[in-house]
Amino acid sequence: MNSFTLGRYIPLDSLMHRFDPRAKIVAMFLLMIAIFMPSGFMGYIGIFLIICIGIYASKLNLRFFWNAMKPMFFMLAVLLVINVFVVKSGEPVITISNFTIYWNALSQTGYIAVRLVLMIVITTLLTATTKPTDLTIALEDLMKPLKRIGFPANEIAMIISIALRFIPTLIEETQRIIKAQTSRGVDLQEGKLKEKVMAILSLIVPLFVSSYQRAEELANAMEARGYVPSRPRTRYRQLKMVGRDFVMLAVCMLVLLSTIGIMIWL
């Protein structure tokens, strides 16, 4: 429970940490688009290089990224099995009795795997080097233009920051309820399916009940202090883009353009 790495902020002092959070978010979007360009394995070279530089500049160790990717392996395994059964085109690779595995099944899975790995590394890079509060501030700023068309940017930012704030609380709460139910004989590891369903239920119901209670209390506390969702809010911390942020954005843009180039050219 404590060991999950996806989305966790790691306080270090590195170049990646110092970039403007807005620049980082935009850069992430650019690279995501680049990943989804159908420009074959060739197009990934540029993305791969820039990600390597990013990891180096973040001072995070590789093990951290490896941990973030672990939950994905199960999904990839399932995908591989499905592809092996469904995709029946390309060169046959191997035939076992009368079942044939085709090249395209493997290459398609590999392709998805590469995309997923790249995406996870990029998002991990962003969340590990940016404080959750900075992320929400940046999102709020980036969503500002959408306010013209009636998009509730302030409210969304507030919702995100509250959600982030309560993740550790929820984890703590879950652990407490797990302990309480364990001492009532709930066994989360073993047992038949029916017992397992019951065990999960005995965690989820109390968790929901206390979350609703907490939400209500928080809402009351905010209103009691005069919070009105739609009013404009000022803030203490102002973000400012500097030279290095623009350089980073330019490099990411270049990567995106190069993948587009490869796509058209090939």
Partner: protein, 286 residues
């Protein structure tokens, strides 16, 4: 079934940079049918210690022996579920563990997990709801439409239903009104005296400790710094002050009397006896 703790230490987040030793080298014997209070300031390690008693936490160093079942550090312990049936642990704010649609089902949940047949578990639930001082009409209600104090009782009934021999309560009266808290303490006394359960009570309320418990364990910074009978512990307020504990009212009264030259016997702990002593002293004086 005595509880034997030998050189127990526990570190949270062991093997990481956040490692923190919450209890150090604790050795302790608690005999059958004792009613023990565990006190100590916030963060002194009380909850950490009691969670070892039913193996929710496992020792980092040292070992425990409960009813002949041993739990060691550094090895994979098995059969923990059997131990959890022997030691019922009631957490602070246990009402958060309620989840079934009806109170009947919620109380029967524990016994069923330990292999009791559904019908028998419900019969147990009917019995337990009365022990905790609610009537049978509650059984068909949803636990979520009860008041905080009622929920607390229901949660305790849920633990009692497993019929553990040792009952551990972690601050069971926090957030209850004085009457509710007193009822709760009476219940624990009943469980101890009539049902012969070993009761371990974590509490911040010295009045409760003094009036209901037989033995006091004081924790500070992960160590047990005092272990003595309740009578000895509350003999004078000096010891309490030294341990940074607010003495109960009766001790303050005795102190005030002493200042005015009225002598009250050391083993007087109730207000009636105290008044009797004062009257006697005053009469002597005249």
């Amino acid at each position: 079934m005595p509880i034997e703790i030998r050189n127990l230490s526990h570190a949270y987040h062991a093997d990481t940079s956040l490692a923190k030793t919450a209890i150090h080298d604790i050795s302790l014997h608690i005999g059958d049918g004792e009613m023990c209070a565990l006190i100590g300031e916030t963060g002194s390690g009380k909850s950490t210690l009691v969670q070892h008693l039913n193996a929710l936490l496992l020792p980092s160093e040292g070992e425990l022996e409960i009813n002949g079942k041993c739990i060691y550090a550094h090895v994979k312990n098995t059969g923990l579920k059997a131990l959890r049936k022997e030691v019922g642990l009631v957490f602070q704010f246990p009402e958060y563990q309620l989840f079934e649609e009806t109170i009947l089902k919620d109380i029967a949940f524990g016994p069923k997990n330990f292999g009791v047949e559904a019908e028998e578990a419900e019969a147990i639930a009917r019995e337990m709801i009365q022990i905790v001082g609610l009537d049978e009409s509650y059984l068909e209600k949803s636990p979520f439409e009860c008041s905080g104090g009622e929920k607390r009782r229901i949660a305790i009934a849920g633990i009692l239903a497993m019929n553990p021999n040792v009952l551990v309560f972690d601050e069971p009266t926090a957030g209850l009104d004085p009457k509710g808290a007193k009822d709760m303490m009476e219940l624990f006394r009943k469980l101890n005296k009539e049902y012969h359960k070993t009761v371990i009570l974590v509490s911040h309320d010295m009045e409760h400790v003094m009036n209901y418990c037989d033995r006091v364990l004081v924790m500070s910074d992960g160590h047990i710094i005092k272990d003595c009978p309740v009578k000895e512990f509350f003999r004078s307020s000096d010891l309490l002050r030294k341990l940074n504990i607010n003495p109960p009212q009766i001790l303050l009264l005795k102190d005030m009397c002493a200042e005015r030259g009225i002598h009250i016997r050391e083993d007087v702990f109730t207000i009636e006896e105290c008044v009797a002593d004062i009257v006697k002293e005053v009469k002597n004086h005249e």
